[in-house]
Symmetry: D2
């Protein structure tokens, strides 16, 4: 039986500002990437999101961002590898304490937005972050958004890593993603087809029709796609049909 994880960014509300539909989406996923209070989230949001994940037996990881709330962590900044490592450690530790409060095992790390891009472009930054994580806890899983990052994780024997694929965005032939300015509604059946294709074959069709290898053990779903819940329901129907097992990252590695 094929096992696969569905991960989704969560806990990106801040104070009085709401973002996403965490309560609607949480029942359908197996791993939650929870914002750590830098690009989004705050202590109250983090605690509530951890509690919600616990209620649905969803694996919990941190989604650390750059210290740029006004830019939602989407603007690269000239921070050193050490600075980025310390930002990750800070946010990761903060979230882990809420996990401990709720009896939830802290599972994984998946950097957000521009921080992810910086790590993808600079192996020195990626290494600093990974070594920082390992120094705190070598049971953690690194959720790798692209091959650049995944390759750096392979330098560390102690670091478990999972490669993630995308089904609600289109792939270019070079396996880069076509990111939309504004999230659009997606055909749930088409997205679910891709899900099955990646889960069972490890491949997906690029925009030009070419077949790409996407050896992913986790699929990232964007909770802000307007019809995200419909998409997740279509995926769950396929999961049942194709005898795929949904499992959080820590059961997969």
């Amino acid at each position: 039986m094929v096992q696969i994880d569905i991960n989704c960014d969560m806990g990106e509300s801040f104070g009085n500002w709401t973002m996403g539909r965490d309560e609607d989406v949480m029942p359908y996923i197996s791993s939650a990437n929870i914002a750590g209070g830098y690009h989004g989230g705050d202590p109250h949001v983090m605690r509530e999101t951890v509690a919600l994940a616990a209620e649905h037996d969803v694996g919990v990881g941190v989604h650390p961002g750059l210290p740029d709330k006004m830019g939602f962590g989407r603007r690269k900044m000239d921070a050193t590898p050490e600075e980025v490592r310390d930002y990750v450690t800070y946010q990761f530790g903060a979230l882990r304490a809420f996990c401990d409060q709720h009896g939830v095992t802290f599972q994984h790390v998946k950097p957000h937005g521009a921080m992810y891009s910086m790590l993808s472009e600079s192996p020195d930054h990626a290494r600093a972050v990974m070594e920082g994580i390992l120094d705190v806890d070598d049971d953690l899983i690194y959720l790798a958004t692209d091959m650049n990052i995944y390759e750096v994780t392979q330098e560390y024997d102690d670091l478990d890593a999972v490669f993630e694929g995308y089904v609600d965005l289109d792939y270019n032939p070079d396996r880069s993603l076509i990111v939309e300015q504004e999230k659009e509604t997606r055909d749930p059946e088409n997205v679910a087809d891709r899900f099955v294709s990646i889960a069972t074959e490890g491949t997906v069709e690029a925009v030009n029709g070419e077949t790409l290898d996407v050896p992913a053990d986790s699929i990232c779903i964007h909770g802000d796609t307007p019809n995200a819940v419909d998409i997740l329901e279509a995926i769950h129907d396929r999961i049942d049909e194709h005898d795929i097992e949904l499992a959080p990252l820590h059961e997969i590695v």
Copy 2:
């Protein structure tokens, strides 16, 4: 042999702004209360301060503050018990991750400034924070700045608490402290006398000459007193003379 701890607030620099003389003071103390990034401190400062504490075998705790950097956490705000609890959990978890990175045992919690005052005035706030801490880790020590707080700690069997005394500030006859607007130089010998008196007798003289009970197992030293290092040297001389043993909180409880 009498055991006593010396604690000092540390890691209150922020970004490019320096505060305190952490490197000069660290060699003389046994427990460091490290700012958690809200009223002061940042991830880089926290990591460096934990590393400095580790170098000097100083016990490490968190000094969490209100989210008010502009006011240095010194202005009370209408936050609920749950909000304050979550602020403590967040900062405490963040600091604990840096401790794990450096192989340092995370030891204690001592709220800063206006947060401390809020907990002292509202047992509901104090209870929320203490229960939040216990839910994360019941090996932690609560460093209690006044009797109001100390009494709330005694409601929890699982919570170790230590009462702290002051020697570089004057006591009113009701055991409240006379806090100066601007830190003044203090006579090191006089401060050291008080230290011995609290450590060995559990008493100190109030401003009116009355003898007060101060059953403290830890003495708080203010690193921003202009001659803090002279004071600490005078105290260390007395420690040797009076066969007092300096010990971090976790060896005392």
Copy 3:
């Protein structure tokens, strides 16, 4: 012909987080209270909101808040009169520059949330803010949310002040407002009746049926009431029927 202003809080989005329906509401109002970047708003949001107000010939004022984004400026804090005055000056100046960029006359000041409450409870705080405003520009109008504040404005010959009334909230017999935890849908006709009553008679019915004096020249509408646009349409129908003239604050004083 009776003249009255309709004011509404605007520009409370922040970065990637959206709040309110500014574009839908702006066509119906005559004065916009625009957040100054402390409790909500940011430079980009401020500029866009000023441009939107200019497009609809809406008078622009600042809605300054406490430096507490996480609490949306709704938590009172122990700030001195001078601190609050400086926060107002800062935000007011920032917004005024965007007005100058768009050829819009800067019209008024209306403090937000807990800052408003602090000024209402402490005349010293209110005076500091009003004197700060007058020192910058004595053509400004102070939009006074309650009688405490209004009375302090009357101490200053140079300060124009307008008292505001509420129609989408209920009044207690002592003229205090019943604020709901969550905004509820309101009957547009009932709200419009109150609008006419305050505009033409200067009175409104309290929850107990008593008639209250509400000598208001501006009516505050909450843009986050779920059916705010329906309410505004009902009010505009009455404005036409009753020969009331909608006019921004600067045409009223």
Copy 4:
């Protein structure tokens, strides 16, 4: 008689954290670049610094930074021209309000740190900022730190610009500056020689002995050079000897 301005960055303290020696330096300069609350400064610091400048008849400008307090505005970030323009407008407006409060004419704009570098490298960013300034007030002066920036200012007929030179840092032969990691003590007489050379000849000697054109009408002095006051005194002695007149920017353009 030669006229020249001395400018210095001021008001970079924040909350409880002090930076620089504004009170010692202000008597010797003619223009102050005051931080706008983003990289440093806060409303209280801004007001006090404006008051201090007013006391010494020093011209006041804003020193706007990126929204990165933790990095002191020294890290470039991927912000768009429009975002940077809005950050400048916001900070500039805020400072101008404090100037109005103190009867001080707001004089100039000089971007700080990484924001300056971004404008120097991207004419689109520089143009957006300059056009934003002109839309608010076309009497302002742009203080240009390098030739890239200065050239962009020349595209605007309405924008007065002044080029600044440096005397407490060394020039490379290409007229770029050698910036030290940590500020070092400088020989006051040597610095004063350079001051006279730039003021009277418009030239300075580069590190390799070559003579460079530095057609500056303002000299930037770093207040954090350890012996900044000694340097300023040496410069003032030369000013008297060489019949140079110290004048704020608005008297020079």
